[in-house]
Amino acid sequence: MQHSLTEKGGDLVVSLQGDVDLDSSPAVRELLLRCVGRGATVFVDLSNVSYIDSSGVASFVEAFQIARRNGTAFALVSVSPAARRVLELARLDKVFTIHESLPGGSDDGA
C-alpha cells in the first residue's frame, strides 16, 4: 500500500493506493488521525484502492468521529468499486460523506 498527502487550498487530501489491510491499516490510521488533528478538512481519495478490509474501514470511522467532534469535515472521494462494496456491506456508505471527485471538480456530487 502507498499513500500520499497533499494540500489543496488549506484542505488535506490523503490518497491511498493498493491494498489497505491488517498490515497497512495502522499506518493509514496514524496518518488520518494526524490529519484530522490538524483541524483541516480531510479528503481521502480511494480511487486507487484495490482492496480494503475492516481494519482500514475502522480507521476511517475513527478519523471521521474525531473530525465530527472537532467540527471539521472528513470525506471519502472517488471511492473505487472494491472499496465501495466493502463500505456498502457494512452500510457505511450511509454514514460517510462521499464525493464522486474532489470538491472544486466539475462532476462533484455527494
Binding site: P26, S54, A58
Partner: protein, 276 residues
C-alpha cells in the same frame, strides 16, 4: 454463478486429491477429490455419517489423513508444521456449528479474540472492527453480554462475527442454518452471498439443509458414506441420475442391503472389525 466463481484460470483455493482417512480400522473417506475456486461458495452436502464433517475437520487441519493431499491457498496442508498452520489460520475463518464461544468472555471479547492473537492493532480499531462485524450479523449492541445470555441463534451469529473478524480469504461454515428459525437462517444465507460478492471471499459451507444449499451454492459436493457422489452446479446436482443423490434430495431413508451372515455375526459379536 458469479464472475469470480467463473474465473477457472485462477489457481484453486482448495485442492483435495484422493483423500483417504480412517477412524481406527474403519475407512471414513474413500479417496475424495475436489477443488474450490477463488470467490466460490462450495457447499458440501450429505446426510449423517456421510463424511462431510470429517472432510471439514481435515480441511481445518484438525485431523491428518491416512493418505492423499490437501492444498490450501497453494500450500500442502498435510505436511505443515504447527507454526505454518498458525500462520495460515490468519487467512481462514471458521464458524463452528455450536458456536464454540468462550463462556468466560463477553461476546465482544470472543469476537475480537483472533485480532488479539494475530495482530497488534490499536484497541480502538479492534473495537470498531468488532462492532462492525456485530452489525453485519445483526447483533449490534450485544458486545457486553456473556454467551450464556444469548439464544442459540445469537450464539451462532456471534461465532459468525468472530469468523469474519480478520476478513479471511477463506471462510468455513459448519451447518450455519441448523437450528435457526427460517428468517434468521435466510438472513445468514444472504450474508454469505454478500460476503462472496463484496469481499470475493471463498466460502465452504457444510450443511444438510437443502434449501440453504440450493440458495447459496455456486457448486455442491455431495458426499455419501465417505464417497463423493457428485460435484457440480445446483442444477447438475438436482438433476443427477444417481438414486442415492435423489434419495438425499428427496429426504428418503435408504435401507442398507442386508447380508444375513454378516448381520448374525455382528449380533453375536463374531464379526471382523469393519474395513473397506
Amino acid at each position: 454463478m458469479t464472475e469470480a466463481a467463473n474465473s477457472s484460470h485462477a489457481d484453486p483455493v482448495i485442492e483435495v486429491t484422493d483423500l483417504v482417512t480412517h477412524y481406527g480400522n474403519t475407512e471414513i473417506l474413500h479417496g475424495v477429490s475436489l477443488t474450490v475456486d477463488p470467490g466460490e461458495i462450495m457447499v458440501i452436502m450429505g446426510g449423517s455419517g456421510s463424511g462431510k464433517s470429517t472432510l471439514l475437520r481435515h480441511l481445518l487441519a484438525l485431523e491428518r489423513p491416512t493418505s492423499g493431499s490437501i492444498r490450501l491457498l497453494g500450500r500442502e496442508l498435510t505436511q505443515m508444521s504447527e507454526f505454518e498452520l498458525y500462520a495460515l489460520s490468519r487467512k481462514m475463518g471458521v464458524a463452528f456449528q455450536g458456536g464454540a464461544l468462550f463462556s468466560s468472555m463477553t461476546v465482544g471479547e470472543n469476537v475480537m479474540l483472533p485480532l488479539r492473537e494475530h495482530t497488534d492493532l490499536d484497541e480502538g480499531t479492534m473495537e470498531i472492527m468488532m462492532r462492525l462485524k456485530l452489525e453485519i450479523v445483526k447483533l449490534a449492541g450485544f458486545e457486553n453480554l456473556m454467551p450464556s445470555e444469548l439464544s442459540g441463534g445469537m450464539v451462532k451469529r456471534a461465532a459468525f462475527a468472530r469468523a469474519l473478524i480478520m476478513d479471511p480469504a477463506l471462510l468455513f461454515c459448519d451447518e450455519p442454518s441448523a437450528g435457526l428459525d427460517p428468517v434468521v437462517s435466510s438472513g445468514l444465507d444472504e450474508l454469505i452471498l454478500r460476503l462472496r460478492d463484496a469481499l470475493r471471499m471463498t466460502i465452504v459451507v457444510v450443511t444438510h439443509e437443502l434449501d440453504s444449499a440450493f440458495r447459496i451454492a455456486d457448486r455442491i459436493a455431495v458426499l455419501d458414506r465417505g464417497e463423493l457422489l457428485a460435484l457440480g452446479s445446483v442444477d447438475e446436482v438436482r438433476n443427477h441420475g444417481n438414486p442415492r443423490i435423489q434419495n438425499l434430495l428427496n429426504r428418503r431413508f435408504e435401507e442398507e442391503e442386508l447380508d444375513p451372515e454378516e448381520y448374525l455375526a455382528r449380533l453375536t459379536g463374531t464379526a471382523k472389525e469393519p474395513t473397506r
